[in-house]
């Protein structure tokens, strides 16, 4: 069964890690990733850039574009796309098309990306 693991943490603390501590954390993660790759279990792994680089598109008849991350707690994280676009405007366009009221799509540029090695799930069940 496929899962996504959504990593939450206190950004100001992670940002205050010393370089050594950050390297140690990343190394520990890479070691785990290696094992998962060997077991054929690893999909895309993403470490995002800081929330100060985020742009949020709020769903509405005319979607609203806001600087900053999606910070509300009423809604929950329901999915996670990784896309390859040439400009921020292109991604915002996509997000507007994908957004469904009363939700929001947070766009965050990716700092680190690792190629997936799992087959795609079926979009529809066979009848």
């Amino acid at each position: 069964m496929l899962y996504s693991i959504l990593c939450y943490n206190v950004e100001s603390i992670v940002g205050a890690w010393s370089r050594e501590h950050d390297d140690a954390v990343m190394k520990a993660h890479f070691d785990i990733q290696e094992k998962l790759v060997q077991a054929g279990k690893l999909g895309p792994v993403v470490r995002l850039l800081p929330t100060t680089t985020a742009t949020t598109v709020r769903a509405a008849d005319k979607p609203v574009v806001i600087d900053g991350p999606f910070a509300e707690t009423k809604e929950q994280l329901l999915g996670f796309y990784v896309v390859d676009c040439d400009t921020l405007d292109e991604v915002i366009d996509l997000a507007k098309q994908l957004s469904i009221p009363p939700g929001a799509m947070e766009i965050r540029p990716i700092r680190y990306f690792s190629q997936a090695n799992l087959p795609a799930t079926r979009l529809r069940e066979d009848r």
């Binding site: 206190v10 100001s12 603390i13 992670v14 940002g15 205050a16 890690w17 010393s18 501590h21 140690a24 954390v25 520990a28 850039l49 800081p50 929330t51 100060t52 680089t53 742009t55 574009v65 806001i66 600087d67 900053g68 400009t87 921020l88 405007d89 540029p109 700092r111």
Partner: protein, 416 residues
């Protein structure tokens, strides 16, 4: 992984938030600092035992505040101080949840107030920087003194003077209003920019104590940006610092002498910082509200995007300087634009561009530096040598002088 280093990072990260809240309660910098220190001491002994709290900042505010309330009550019994006049918002002390929620709603204003106090317009820039490093970043006086190559007592004096001036100015502790906020924001941004340049301009033996100033400046810029996530000039300032600092690993050679941009080993540039800087510029551009920090960051972006020096988009740099010439005309801007023109159209066109600036820039080292280089390229070696001689006479640092001497050596090698 070392569990204790998590705690250090948590205490350091929480500092602006916690100190800001304690300042709101007690309206005195030294009281707030003492409360924060006490809370940190208790965290260092409790957290390894009980495990980390869910909200470290809230825990520290709660403990710091109660410690100070106890102290004030104790002192008022001894000295008959009017305790109530010193305190604010004490009704919620028995309800930690309510206190926590109030603190969260105050977060932005608390941190902003702290920044505004350090960057009070009455303070000279040197005092603003010292105060910000001591109060917001939490560097010790000794650390700050070392970074600015002064004695500890001299730095102590600078900070004390700054604090006194702030107290004398009777800084209001109410939430900064919108018009004042915009004005003071410029002062904070300028302080951060100056702080960064203090670190960035270091070379030689002072590098290892000064370069960390770049990191503090970036941390403050990111903090400011988190308070004003939609402000394009703050995005520009942060991007500029990130893009410049990204080059630090390649900027110095084995002797800690400066390596020019065109000669740097770009594989040593920090790609993560570049990615973050470029992402911020993508966001800033969408506001169509250009300003000086965004302009400088845009110029830095062009260099950041070039895989090798030869790949630099000089046409884009020329275009950006043309905009800058219209926004903030100055002979130095035209001089910098001429560097791009030299790459695009050759040294003759560049020389023609800077000739009218000769009067205004007669005392400027770089004017003669580039003039000499272009004359040399055109084979006008005697004139080139003359320009280089003028440059050496105007050099401000040993690094600048030795850079020109290197040009002179090359020139003399051609003549022979």
């Amino acid at each position: 992984m070392n569990d204790m280093s998590w705690i250090d990072a948590a205490l350091s990260a929480a500092r602006p938030h916690v100190l800001g809240a304690l300042l709101r309660y007690f309206r005195d910098l030294d009281t707030a600092e003492e409360a924060f220190q006490e809370a940190c001491l208790r965290a260092l002994s409790r957290w390894p035992v009980n495990g980390p709290p869910r909200d470290p900042a809230a825990w520290l505010i709660f403990v710091g505040r109660n410690f100070t309330l106890d102290e004030l009550r104790r002192r008022s019994k001894q000295e008959a101080l009017p305790v109530d006049e010193l305190l604010a918002e004490t009704e919620d002390e028995d309800q930690p949840d309510l206190a926590e929620r109030l603190d969260s709603s105050h977060y932005r204003d608390d941190v902003l107030r702290l920044l505004f106090i350090c960057c009070h317009p009455d303070l000279p820039a040197t005092q603003q920087i010292a105060l910000a490093l001591r109060i917001v970043s939490g560097l010790t006086v000794a650390e700050i003194a070392r970074a600015f190559l002064v004695t500890e007592s001299a730095m102590e004096q600078r900070i004390t003077r700054a604090k006194r001036r702030v107290t004398d100015a009777d800084v209001p502790f109410e939430t900064p209003g919108a018009p004042e906020r915009a004005e003071r924001l410029n002062t904070v941004a300028a302080m951060i920019y100056l702080l960064f340049n203090e670190g960035y301009s270091a070379n030689g033996g002072a590098v290892h104590v000064r370069v960390p100033l770049c990191e503090e400046a970036i941390r403050l810029a990111r903090l400011l940006l988190s308070l004003f996530p939609g402000n394009p000039e703050i995005m520009g300032l942060t991007a500029l610092l990130l893009l410049q600092h990204a080059r630090t690993p390649a900027r110095l050679d084995a002797d800690n002498a400066i390596v020019l941009l065109e000669d740097q080993d770009r594989s040593r540039w920090n790609r993560g910082l570049i990615a973050e800087g470029l992402a911020l510029m993508d966001k800033a551009i969408r506001h169509r509200d250009i300003g000086p920090y965004q302009m400088q960051a845009a110029l830095a972006s062009v260099h950041a995007r070039a895989a090798r020096a030869e790949d630099t988009d000089w046409a884009e740099i020329d275009r950006l300087y043309a905009i800058l010439e219209a926004l903030q005309p100055s002979p130095v801007v035209t001089l910098n634009r001429a560097v791009a023109v030299a790459k695009l159209k050759g040294p003759e066109a560049a020389l023609a561009m800077i000739e009218p600036l000769a009067d205004k820039l007669h005392g400027y080292f770089h004017f003669f530096g580039v003039k000499g280089a272009w004359l040399a390229q055109l084979g006008r070696l005697e004139e080139a040598r003359h320009a280089f001689d003028r440059a050496i006479a105007l050099a401000n640092t040993a690094a600048e002088a030795s850079h020109i001497r290197m040009h002179l050596d090359r020139l003399l090698a051609k003549v022979r």
